[in-house]
């Protein structure tokens, strides 16, 4: 009952930012979600995908041509704008400053990951508090679980891809085990959720 009540409260509250973490087996779902988001999305999206800095990818360019919202690599000290998805660059953690600009950090990896989902989610929760919505998708390690817990404790809303539906269940399952998840959604509902993001306000 308590969860249902907070869910309803959450629906009535405005979303300040959406933060999405994704690793092994999650990029396809992430692409579908970004593609489904409306052109006039009222807030910004922060995305952390685990990847190796040694290999150049064209993930952002490929997504940009298929999405209605803007897709870009996050730049140091740039402001978070609505209807824009900011990807953490390979080799850097992505942080949120109190003035809601982004900053990059090349310090120690967390769970062997840089960028780390934990780091971005914690930093986002620090600044956006209860208006944070976090989504954790398929992945093969523990990164993201502690980050989801920070969002949860800050009063934000935490969604995990349903482990049964995830290509690799370890990452969403770890967040669920930590009690840091309000909702688990299969891929089809993650897409519906993405389409209807503006209705949550």
């Amino acid at each position: 009952m308590l969860e249902l009540a907070s869910h309803i409260v959450n629906k009535r509250r405005s979303i300040g930012v959406l933060v999405v973490g994704c690793s092994a087996g999650g990029v396809g779902v992430l692409a579908k979600m970004l593609k489904a988001m409306p052109v006039n999305l009222a807030f910004g999206v922060l995305v952390v995908v685990h990847r190796n800095a040694k290999y150049e990818t064209h993930l952002e360019e490929n997504l940009a041509t298929n999405c209605r919202i803007a897709i870009k690599v996050a730049e140091d000290k740039e402001r978070i704008r609505p209807a824009t998805a900011y990807f953490a660059p390979a080799g850097y953690h992505l942080l949120v400053e109190p003035d809601r600009s982004l900053s990059l950090d090349a310090s120690e990896p967390v769970h062997f990951c840089i960028p780390s989902i934990d780091v971005t989610m914690q930093s986002t929760a620090d600044v956006y508090g209860p208006s944070t919505v976090a989504v954790l998708l398929s992945g093969a390690n523990q990164d993201g679980a502690a980050g989801m817990l920070s969002v949860y404790r800050a009063g934000g809303w935490c969604i995990a891809q349903h482990p049964r539906d995830a290509e690799v269940e370890t990452m969403p399952a770890a967040a669920i085990a930590l009690g840091a998840v309000h909702q688990t959604l299969p891929i089809s509902e993650l897409i519906t959720f993405s389409q209807q993001l503006n209705n949550h306000i």
């Binding site: 140091d76 000290k77 942080l95 400053e97 900053s103 990059l104 930093s123 620090d126 600044v127």
Partner: protein, 270 residues
């Protein structure tokens, strides 16, 4: 251990009052992470941390090591070093003397990387390299020129990818689990403590490298430091920033020429 942004401000004020160390221009999100990390490492709460900073002088040096990011690698971003070798070194070769500054050098890996490139190009004997950092402890490590052999394996791989055609092992001697950088490479390098925030300009350089340092500063301090670098460069000297550190177009105008947009390499033109 969670702290608030208010706690961060409190600590910045305290460090300034007690140690005369101005961190007000540092980006807050990263500082907050560093402080939380220190609390976890030393198993302290926020009050105990403040108490230590005021009452135990030795603690401040340890604190500073963890407060500033000292993660570094030799030949980090091989493509960048390839660009240095191909775009900058031939130009540097035309100067009678080469003075280079690795600013925020941490344990010195970047300064040694530059030394190797210049040595390979036959320019090292007319080169002098300054490596500076605010952190005295890392400067002491940089001076030793001793690197864990395990790390050296990663650096060797980086070096290979710069396309230099030789092996990094030509520049160090392996002893047990450590690699000692050859004296030949160390003789023209001076490591010293220097604070980019308060110490400003100290020489005229043909090359300044400062990679992954500006990201920890707010925009006002970034501008101040870039101005200080501009003032520290000889005409037609080069400034190399990190892969994600750019100079805004209005500040580039009439001051710098962009040599590489990908690698953020600039040349002072006025």
């Amino acid at each position: 251990m969670t702290i608030s942004f208010g706690n961060v401000e409190e600590l910045i004020a305290l460090i300034d009052h007690v140690h005369g160390f101005d961190m007000s221009g540092y980006a807050r999100a990263s500082l907050k992470r560093r402080i939380s990390r220190i609390l976890a490492i030393y198993d302290l709460d926020f009050t105990a941390l403040k108490d230590n900073l005021v009452n135990s002088p030795d603690f401040f040096n340890q604190f500073l090591i963890e407060m500033t990011v000292t993660v570094t690698e030799m030949f980090r971003d091989p493509a960048y070093y390839k660009a240095v070798r191909e775009e900058i070194i031939p130009y540097l070769a035309t100067f009678p003397h080469i003075k280079a500054w690795s600013a925020g050098c941490a344990t010195g890996e970047e300064a040694y990387s530059i030394a190797i490139l210049l040595h390979k190009a036959g320019l090292y004997d007319r080169t002098f390299i300054y490596g500076t950092d605010i952190n005295t402890a890392v400067i002491e490590r940089a001076k030793q020129g001793i690197i864990e052999l395990k790390k050296m394996k990663i650096y060797s791989d980086n070096y290979l990818h710069t396309g230099s055609g030789d092996s990094l092992s030509e520049y160090y001697t392996a002893k047990y689990d450590a690699a000692v950088i050859h004296h030949e490479l160390r003789k023209n390098i001076l490591f010293a403590t220097h604070n980019l925030v308060s110490d400003g300009v100290f020489n005229e350089f043909q090359l300044i490298t400062c990679r992954n340092v500006l990201i920890y500063f707010n925009q006002a301090l970034q501008r101040q430091v870039i101005d200080a670098f501009h003032a520290s460069l000889a005409l037609f000297g080069f400034l190399c920033l990190g892969a994600k550190e750019t100079i805004s177009p209005e500040r580039v105008k009439n001051k710098f020429r962009i040599i590489s947009k990908t690698h953020n390499i600039y040349q002072k033109i006025a």
